[in-house]
Subunit: 232 residues, 2 copies
DNA sequence: AAAATAAAAAATATCGATATTTTGTTGACG
DNA sequence: CGTCAACAAAATATCGATATTTTTTATTTT
């Protein structure tokens, strides 16, 4: 269920390690959305038996990254504009709720984490501003770390779990939309405002900002998903 | 993932049918929370091979009804007061959101469904009021049908899915708390008020009522769960 | 007697083979 | 020319056996 940040997944069993690896690869876009996941193929690729492979696949259904139907095997979970919009709506609801709880319950240590995460993100954004590079290898990771830090004081496991699922789903859409980081500067300002509001314990404001933050990306990405849907 | 109301689960494969059956039994409390689910035992009980059994179990992890750890097999998902409170909080959030969307988008057909479901529920409550019976075989089903009808015009699949998971989890707590239907009369009034507000398209009011509806049961059940936790 | 260790039992994870179903192809028929 | 049917190929689901790990039990040591 959970992969640790370092990437060193402590896998006690074959199933777990195959599960973790395949999961990453699906998120990385190695297997296209809605494409068939043939057990025999995967089985030999990962050097495990069919039963083991099937079980790993079954476990991926938990994360809604794989679907399975009747007598016709497994598929990578499909993507659609409709789905993306629904995910975005839910993210607004859950992300802002998690942030609110975090702001209400967070202690000084939490504040420190937020500040640190924002700092790390800012530094890489400065670096990116210099180079005309469109690829941001670490930006994604630090951006994610920042958002995780914001809600790290929320203690509702269900909220975090659902939010996590949606977040991963969302990242698949970002991937196919080939989002560049050219708009990083605007995003930076938004992050700064959110950090400020969070530290000032202004939950209403922070939540509003985070919702805007999500909303802002929806339409631009949705447009690209539409284009992607065409040549499928 | 979905079980149809009639209980006639259309299972194309062994895995699916075993999955569905075991799922119902866990929800029905046949296997105590946190108890071990030994593959060999289940395997022979359901007349399937170990691989098939394991796969069915793996699929139950999707619904968070079963947990699995490293090299030590499967267990029924445990229950705790803390978990119950978190579930209740999330239910308030999701149930009210789903209701709001339903109220905003529902058409006349939806209104008719709500009215019908409320009527069916009311009838059985009248009947129960007569007899001093504490057992309400059909009440649960009709109560659930009523709540499903209320949110049936919500079209966000993720919202419905998460809400469904939480609802099932919640029902496990109701079971161990041995909730009687003595408080049915108060509940009836609440249902009536919710129906009224929904039909009047007063989303704010309806949402507030449904949150109260959930809140009201939390403490009484939480207390019983504490007691249950003791003799475990 | 409590703690540590070794042996036995139980349970889990993994494998490769087989039966069943779906998918794809070819040829007959309207 | 397209639809249908029969067949062939591919893929899925299912099985039972084996290797590994965990848990239990028995034995020894401080």
């Amino acid at each position: 269920m959970s992969d640790n940040a370092s990437g060193t997944t402590t896998a006690k069993t074959m199933i777990e390690s195959v599960y973790a690896e395949l999961r990453e690869e699906i998120l990385a876009g190695k297997y296209p959305p809605a494409s068939k996941l043939k057990v025999e193929q995967l089985r030999s690729a990962y050097n495990v038996s069919s039963s083991t492979m099937r079980e790993a696949l079954s476990r991926l259904v938990s994360d809604t990254l794989v679907t399975t139907e009747g007598q016709r095997g497994f598929r990578v979970a499909p993507l659609s504009v409709r789905d993306f919009r629904q995910i975005a709506e839910m993210r607004k609801l859950l992300e802002s709720r998690a942030l609110r709880e975090s702001i209400e319950q967070g202690d000084e240590e939490w504040e420190a984490c937020v500040v640190a995460a924002f700092y790390r993100l800012s530094r890489i954004e400065e670096a990116l501003a210099q180079t005309a590079e469109k690829v941001a290898p670490d930006w994604d990771a630090r951006n994610q770390a920042f958002h995780n830090a914001l809600i790290s004081a929320c203690d509702n496991d269900w909220l975090l779990r659902f939010r996590d699922i949606l977040h991963h789903q969302s990242s698949r859409y970002l991937r196919i939309a080939l989002v560049d980081t050219s708009s990083v500067r605007d995003v930076h300002a938004e992050h700064e405002a959110i950090t400020k509001a969070a530290l000032a314990r202004d939950a209403d404001k922070a939540c509003h900002l985070i919702e805007m933050h999500i909303t802002r990306t929806v339409d631009v990405i949705a447009a690209k998903v539409v284009a992607w849907e065409a040549d499928d």
